[in-house]
């Protein structure tokens, strides 16, 4: 197969392999917990774990990724022993499987980067060795009871490239519940595989010269299909495809020639498989009436028998008009030979023309309607059922980015039309109506565009299961992990950036926050600590909370360390809890007495804060000594478009994020007080708020200088408020955030800019930054004053 194709296939394997691992790893851990607690395990989950290894093994061996194949093969064998009851899942085994999973992850990464699975030989040998040990200890302990495990191929070369297995697996799989989603995905993929295979087979027939590559490709596709059928427990398609796979292997190895009959047989098999998929889609079990018959034919083909000798079923070459087929005699095969390409091509061409409606299905099965669902003959297309399936389509991320950018531009352009100076002040009723309508449509478009990139947090949360498991073990603590609101969706970029912070915080909680079981018991707490990951929408933000019920933050300890490091000058008595807790985010800060290899170096929280700030979010901490700690990540819901309030300072227009505005008002001359240090504060309903004059802050000339002449806007960030003084409020509008150019760099108090309806550029105020600065000033000033006195 072509290099590009190979590359794509490998990438697909990497992506899918990682997905499967992510899904199964937490299940494995849950299994172990179940086993410990109840002495038995859920068979469905166990089978899912088995299927993980089996499936990866399949893909790996067909691509000659032998290292991966050998590891997964051994793991699969051991798992099979467990699920057949020969032994129980022990903590030791679970650790082994987890280690195997880790190695698989490394290999997948290697494949991703270098397109092969070379390396890590030591680790591989170690794990394979231990797995073999385990397997042998189990099989020696139970002599000949229960089912024999499927014959393991000769060792040394576990799973040679493309070795068809001795027996089709999963014949006796207990009935298992496959989720509808899995089934839908399976069907969709299956149909894709079948379509591709068909295409290749046709090509193979037209172009026998490209045999080598194409055959290998077809073989691989059939192998995948077979593997997938095994995953979801569909016997007939599995067996049939297994037969096809064997035949293809013989072709691939050059043992038998490619003839039009072979192709025809294979094409017919494809059709039957399609049929079967359609049946599954409708809720059936995918039974194929003639799979035994064809299975035998395929076997004989694989063994090298000339197709001319075979008694091919007469309905092989049906031309499909939905007409019931006329049984051809076996001699038909000979008649076909002189014009090899045509008939078969015609067959499948019409098949494709009818988009896969069923050619060659024994329409004459009025005699025997049992096997195939009678309805299927009404040329229902074997496609994923639209009703229940949420059909999905893979989309290039770049395209999505372009789409979202364009939607952003559209919003700006709309503003430029609707607020155009040319129409300002005119009363244009129809125009206004139309503009309003336009605005609504664009609003909807915007919502959808944003939601396109949203992904539920559950995936990220579930990754923490393994992390928690490992860390708890290492630290010798008992941890119960809970999830709340994991279905909350966030933008894809957010997902990418919170993974690491989450891990850091889980580490902190387990390592520092939660006490040891003895410590907890001594404080009257349950020996098992609780760690809760929660996600919810709050205002225009997504809040992700990591709470533990451990020992909480020690204010004094933090202050002590802070003084040591010179982060705090005095005894910090004036600092609020909030401010003290925020110190832990400073780089290099840690109150850990010892640096364990998990944490304590003081790197974690700083990284957390930086990562969150990268996505324009912020972190805050709540804690109560002895009770526990909660770290909250506040992440803006949309990164690109916010609701903004336009204000004017002199000739410049600024935009304030509406969410940050608490209220606005005109000051009465009396309510403003000037402090000795020059700062102004204003009294609002028992609150004293500092005033920030925007014109002084940004060095501009305002229209008004008296506080009672302009307008005061109360903004809020974290739990602090500030009063901004501006000349006038101009109105509210949807703002598309544009970053200021790199050349300009970072500006204090400004978080970006936007383009207004009239083409002007307006700077967007960074409320949090302004408040921080104001507070910092206040603190310094106060300190100076204290010292003066």
């Amino acid at each position: 197969m072509g290099d590009q194709e190979l590359l794509e296939i490998l990438q697909l394997i990497v992506v899918e392999g990682n997905e499967m691992i992510d899904e199964v790893e937490p299940q494995l851990i849950a299994l172990q917990q179940e086993e410990d607690a109840a002495g038995s395990v859920d068979m469905d989950t166990l089978n899912a774990v088995f299927r993980l290894f089996h499936s990866i093994k399949g893909s790996a061996s067909s691509l000659e990724l032998n290292n991966i194949a050998s590891v997964t093969h051994k793991a699969e064998t051991l798992l099979d022993m467990i699920r057949s009851g020969k032994t129980k899942l022990s903590g030791h085994f679970t650790e082994l499987f987890l280690k195997a999973i880790d190695l698989l992850r490394l290999y997948l990464e290697r494949v991703d980067q270098q397109q092969n699975d070379e390396g890590y030989e030591e680790e591989r040998d170690a794990i394979v060795g231990r797995l073999i040990e385990a397997i042998e200890s189990v099989s020696s302990g139970t002599a000949g009871t229960g089912r024999e495990t499927p014959a393991a191929p000769a060792d040394g070369t576990a799973a040679g490239p493309g070795a068809a297995e001795a027996a089709p697996v999963e014949e006796d799989l207990p009935a298992m519940k496959i989720s509808q989603e899995m089934m839908d995905r399976f069907i969709q993929e299956a149909n894709e595989l079948l379509d591709e295979t068909e295409g290749h087979l046709l090509e193979l027939e037209r172009n026998p010269d490209c045999q080598g590559e194409t055959t290998a490709e077809v073989f691989r596709l059939m192998h995948s299909f077979k593997g997938n059928c095994g995953l979801v427990g569909l016997d007939d398609p599995g067996r049939l495809s297994h037969g096809a796979e064997s035949a293809l292997q013989s072709i691939k190895e050059g043992k038998i020639p490619v003839t039009s009959e072979t192709i025809a047989v294979l094409l017919k098999v494809i059709d039957m498989l399609r049929e079967s998929m359609a049946d599954v889609c409708r809720g059936g079990r995918g039974r194929i009436k003639e799979h035994e018959e064809f299975g035998k034919i395929l076997e004989r083909i694989a063994a090298g028998e000339s197709t001319a000798d075979l008694q091919l079923p007469g309905n092989l070459f049906n031309v499909d008009d939905g007409i019931s087929s006329v049984p051809y005699a076996g001699t038909m095969a000979k008649e076909i030979v002189p014009t090899p390409g045509k008939k078969a091509v015609g067959n499948t061409d019409s098949a494709s023309a009818d988009s896969g409606s069923n050619s060659g299905i024994p329409a004459e099965s009025d005699s025997d309607p049992s096997g195939v669902d009678a309805k299927s003959q009404e040329s229902s297309k074997p496609q994923p059922c639209a009703s229940s399936a949420r059909s999905a389509i893979r989309v290039d991320l770049d395209k999505l980015d372009v789409l979202i950018n364009l939607v952003g531009e559209l919003v700006i352009a709309q503003a430029m039309v609707v607020s155009n100076p040319d129409v300002r002040g005119l009363h244009l009723e129809n125009f206004d109506k139309a503009a309003h309508h336009l605005g609504r449509i664009i609003g909807d478009l915007q919502d959808i565009a944003m939601s396109v990139r949203m992904i539920p947090l559950s995936g990220t949360f579930r990754k923490m299961i393994r992390v928690t498991h490992d860390l708890a073990r290492k630290a010798g603590k008992k941890v119960q992990l809970n999830f709340v609101g994991e279905e909350t969706e966030v933008d894809k970029t957010v997902i990418e950036h919170i993974g690491d912070p989450l891990v850091h915080m889980v580490r902190n909680s387990i390592d520092h926050g939660l006490e040891s079981p003895e410590g907890r018991a001594a404080s009257g707490k349950d020996a098992t600590g609780t760690l809760t990951l929660e996600a919810r929408h709050e205002g225009g933000e997504v809040w992700i909370l990591i709470s533990d019920d451990g020992r909480g933050l020690d204010r004094e300890k933090i202050l002590e360390k802070a003084r040591e490091k010179g982060l705090v000058k005095d005894d910090g008595a004036e600092m609020s809890d909030d401010e003290v807790f925020r110190i832990i985010f400073e780089p290099g800060f840690s109150t850990a007495k010892q640096v364990t290899d998990i944490s304590g170096r003081g790197v974690g929280m700083d990284v957390v804060r930086k990562n969150i700030e990268k996505i324009k979010g912020r972190v805050s901490v709540r804690s109560e000594k002895g009770k526990g700690t909660t770290v909250i990540m506040h992440i803006p819901l949309t990164l690109a478009i916010i609701d903004g309030m336009l204000i004017r300072v002199g000739n410049s227009k600024f935009t304030v994020p509406t969410l940050a505005i608490r209220e606005s008002f005109r000051a009465e001359p009396g309510i403003v007080t000037v402090l000795p240090d020059g700062h102004e504060v204003v009294k609002i309903r028992d609150e004293l708020l500092p005033v920030l004059r925007l014109h002084s802050e940004f060095g501009m000339t305002p229209e008004f200088t008296g506080l009672h002449e302009g307008i005061l806007i109360v903004v809020k960030s974290h739990e602090h408020c500030l009063c901004l003084f501006a000349d006038e409020i101009l109105g509210q509008q949807e703002t598309v955030i544009k970053a200021l150019s790199d050349y300009v760099g970072k500006i204090r108090g400004v978080s970006g800019c936007t383009i207004l309806g009239n083409g002007e550029v307006s700077l967007i105020l960074d409320v949090g930054g302004l408040i921080d600065k104001a507070q910092g000033n206040g603190r310094d000033k106060r300190k100076n004053n204290d010292r003066k006195q």
């Binding site: 531009e409 700006i412 410049s652 227009k653 802050e697 940004f698 060095g699 501009m700 544009k738 200021l740 150019s741 790199d742 050349y743 300009v744 760099g745 500006i747 204090r748 108090g749 400004v750 800019c753 383009i755 083409g759 002007e760 550029v761 307006s762 700077l763």
Partner: protein, 172 residues
């Protein structure tokens, strides 16, 4: 050091562009007061009439702010102020020359734009040492002679990047 890098970068640019030979000798000339300057056109993306400039705080004085060019927010430098001259009231002949270097777009405010001329290398002589203002003279690539008149040829890359270093230095 930085200059070397800039020269290298420029060198790379030249070898990249296909019709570089034809572009190499072309310069856009513009006026500041009565003095005529020239910039190699290879980095110039467009020339626009002056638009409304939005002030940006915390910038060196010669960075007047940013403008909106078809949806792109581009920082703008007043060439006069960069050279330490007195700023001049903008009139309807004041133009913005937009250059693009290193994927960054910057605009320069100039009094009047003149024309695009061909100045072959042999007509370009090395920049003279200007007493006192040695920092500024770095921006001068050479002196070009066209029909007896001398135009001061500016090195755009140095103009832009040195700006940045200066801005950084100022910020510190």
């Amino acid at each position: 050091m930085a200059e070397k890098k800039v020269q290298e970068a420029l060198g790379d640019d030249f070898s990249d562009e296909g019709d570089e030979d034809t572009q190499k000798d072309k310069f856009l000339t513009f006026y500041i007061d009565e003095e005529e300057f020239g910039i190699a056109i290879s980095h110039i993306t467009e020339i626009v009439g002056l638009q409304r400039i939005t002030e940006v705080p915390d910038m060196p004085p010669y960075v007047k702010g940013v403008v909106n060019l078809r949806g792109n927010v581009i920082p703008v430098i007043d060439m006069r102020m960069r050279f330490g001259m007195e700023p001049r009231k903008y009139d309807d002949r004041t133009c913005l020359i937009i250059v693009n270097i290193d994927s960054q777009s910057i605009g320069f405010v100039v009094d009047r734009v003149h024309e695009v001329v061909d100045i072959p290398e042999e007509n370009i002589s090395a920049p003279p040492m200007i007493k006192g203002e040695t920092a500024n003279s770095r921006y001068i690539k050479g002196m070009g002679k066209v029909e007896g008149k001398v135009k001061i040829l500016l090195d755009v890359a140095v103009l832009v990047f040195s700006e940045r270093f200066e801005a950084m230095a100022n910020a510190v």
